[in-house]
């Protein structure tokens, strides 16, 4: 069987590359979060480990790996071990359909052009949804199997929050699907190439400013980040669903959280900010644009966390159901009318 053609090897290489990059992105986010938080609070942040404290994430990982993996006596052993694995696996899997650059033949090394992504699926958007909904299980099971009231309350809050905001998230995405006429993220990105009046780039954020706002708000809620970080509200719930976790299983939840942030930012970049399309750079360097945009959104995440105070839980639910959801329905209707009557 002629399985290992150069194209297959290249695709496997991309798969490995994405895996390693997501791991390093999570490590980079730990560093960035601590550094940005420190600067916002007029501190220095980590400076001791390596130049400018750059090796701090590595030190954190070693510290976590050396710790004892504790498990409460009353916990369900199988589910307690399974929950962080589900969370981390779902986080990695969601990124599989996210493209990060134009099609390339790697400077003529391959005799056909392959896309810079793990899998180009024609139902990519729905795939992201499906995998995100699997990620909820990791959190719910972590909370339940720990057999601790803080964990259970955190898990219940988290899942209620994720289920509530998934609706607005989906409605915002549906408006983009209407504009692009496709569910493949690659085709959505390619329909944003070029510019209006050769000045404004043809990005969907200019057609869907409200959609972008809804998507980012729901995205922050989906990833359980401040100001929507109730599942881990320290003052009320100790640490929420991962209260009882320690060592590497705790690290896996953090890995999942940071990778989910990267995924949401990458999808927002592809759907609203034109992905790898941008002025000045040639197409084959488009991934630089992609990285820059994702980096900016991730910075925005951290910036928001240290700027805004946490909402109250009832405010979160009221905001999600009574403001964000109606807004997203109206946005979808207006977009549909625009596509139907004005051919946007």
């Amino acid at each position: 069987m002629d399985a290992f053609t150069p194209v297959v090897i290249a695709q496997l290489a991309i798969l490995g590359f994405v895996f390693v990059m997501l791991l390093s992105a999570a490590a980079g986010m730990v560093y960035a979060e601590r550094k940005v938080a420190a600067r916002i609070q007029q501190r220095m942040g980590p400076t001791l480990v390596g130049p400018y404290g750059l090796l701090q994430p590595l030190a954190d990982i070693i510290k976590l790996a050396m710790k004892e993996d504790l498990r409460p006596k009353a916990a369900d052993p199988i589910l307690f071990a399974l929950a962080p694995i589900i969370s981390a696996a779902a986080a990695f899997t969601a990124f599989a359909v996210v493209p990060f650059g134009a099609e390339t033949d790697f400077f003529g090394l391959l005799d056909q052009r392959i896309p810079l992504q793990v899998a180009d699926v024609n139902v990519a958007i729905l795939w992201v949804f499906a995998v995100t909904s699997m990620g909820v299980y990791g959190i719910v099971l972590a909370g339940w199997s720990s057999n601790s009231k803080y964990s259970l309350l955190g898990a219940l809050r988290s899942s209620a929050q994720m289920i509530s905001y998934e609706l607005s998230y989906g409605m915002a995405l549906a408006a983009v699907l209407l504009l692009a006429g496709s569910m493949s993220i690659r085709e959505i990105v390619d329909s944003q190439a070029g510019s209006w009046f050769s000045v404004i780039p043809r990005w969907f954020i200019f057609l869907q400013p409200i959609g972008f706002f809804i998507f980012m708000t729901a995205g922050v809620a989906e990833t359980n980040r401040a100001p929507f970080d109730f599942p881990e509200a320290e003052q009320e719930l100790v640490a929420g669903y991962h209260t009882e976790y320690s060592s590497m299983s705790f690290a896996m939840f953090f890995l999942a959280e940071y990778i989910n942030m990267v995924t949401v930012s990458a999808i927002a970049t592809n759907l609203y900010l034109g992905g790898w399309h941008g002025p000045l750079l040639p197409v084959w360097l488009g991934w630089l644009w992609f990285l820059a945009k994702v980096g900016f959104l991730l910075f925005f995440y951290i910036w928001m966390r240290w700027t805004l105070p946490r909402y109250r839980y009832d405010q979160l639910m009221a905001f999600g159901w009574k403001f964000l959801l109606p807004l997203s329905v109206i946005n979808l209707l207006v977009t549909a009318a625009g596509v139907l009557y004005f051919g946007l």
């Binding site: 069987m1 699926v121 499906a130 909820v136 719910v140 569910m183």
Partner: protein, 178 residues
């Protein structure tokens, strides 16, 4: 073709074995999780049938939404083990005999259905496209089957209102009184 066949057996085995384990073991939380695994195996089979849309919907609706509901109910009732059936009923000879007869009938029925399905599957009686695209499904749903679609939505609305009125009965009564 060989690789597809291997994948078929892998996904089919996941779906069947997990479905069996749902019934066999007694912890309801595990049952819910195994059922999710079984649904994911089914989704894999849909992908092999060139129906990625159906596969993803299977995961979103069944494995995602409905099973979350199941999991919540099971978790919040906090039933660590299923209660064994009342002892007298299972032990008696009559129930065992009825069970055995039913099992044989069911097995025969299954064998008969499977032996017929082979002749059905190979015919090209359906002039349907090999794979449905999302626009195709949308067209059919909102034009050919629009009535069924709307009827379903009304049924679901009725069920929602019913559930709400049951859950909020004491709230409404309290408001009326006070």
């Amino acid at each position: 073709m060989g690789f597809d066949l291997i994948l078929f057996y892998v996904f089919a085995a996941i779906a069947a074995v997990m479905a069996l384990l749902v019934v066999v073991q007694s912890n309801p939380v595990y049952s819910v999780l195994l059922l999710i695994g079984s649904f994911i195996g089914l989704a894999g089979l849909y992908v092999l049938l060139d129906a990625p849309f159906v596969a993803v919907i299977q995961i979103i609706v069944y494995a995602g939404a409905i099973m979350v509901l199941f999991l919540f109910v099971v978790m919040l009732l906090n039933a660590p083990r299923e209660e064994p059936a009342p002892s007298g009923l299972l032990e008696s000879g009559a129930t065992r005999a009825i069970g055995a007869v039913l099992a044989v009938v069911f097995a025969l029925e299954l064998a008969w259905a499977l032996s017929r399905s082979r002749t059905l599957a190979t015919t090209d009686a359906y002039d349907m496209p090999r794979s449905f695209s999302v626009p195709d499904i949308g067209q059919r749903l909102f034009q050919d089957y629009a009535f069924a679609f709307e009827a379903t939505s009304i049924l679901i609305l009725v069920a929602m209102i019913g559930a709400l009125s049951l859950a909020a009965r004491h709230v409404l009564e309290g408001r009326r009184r006070g």
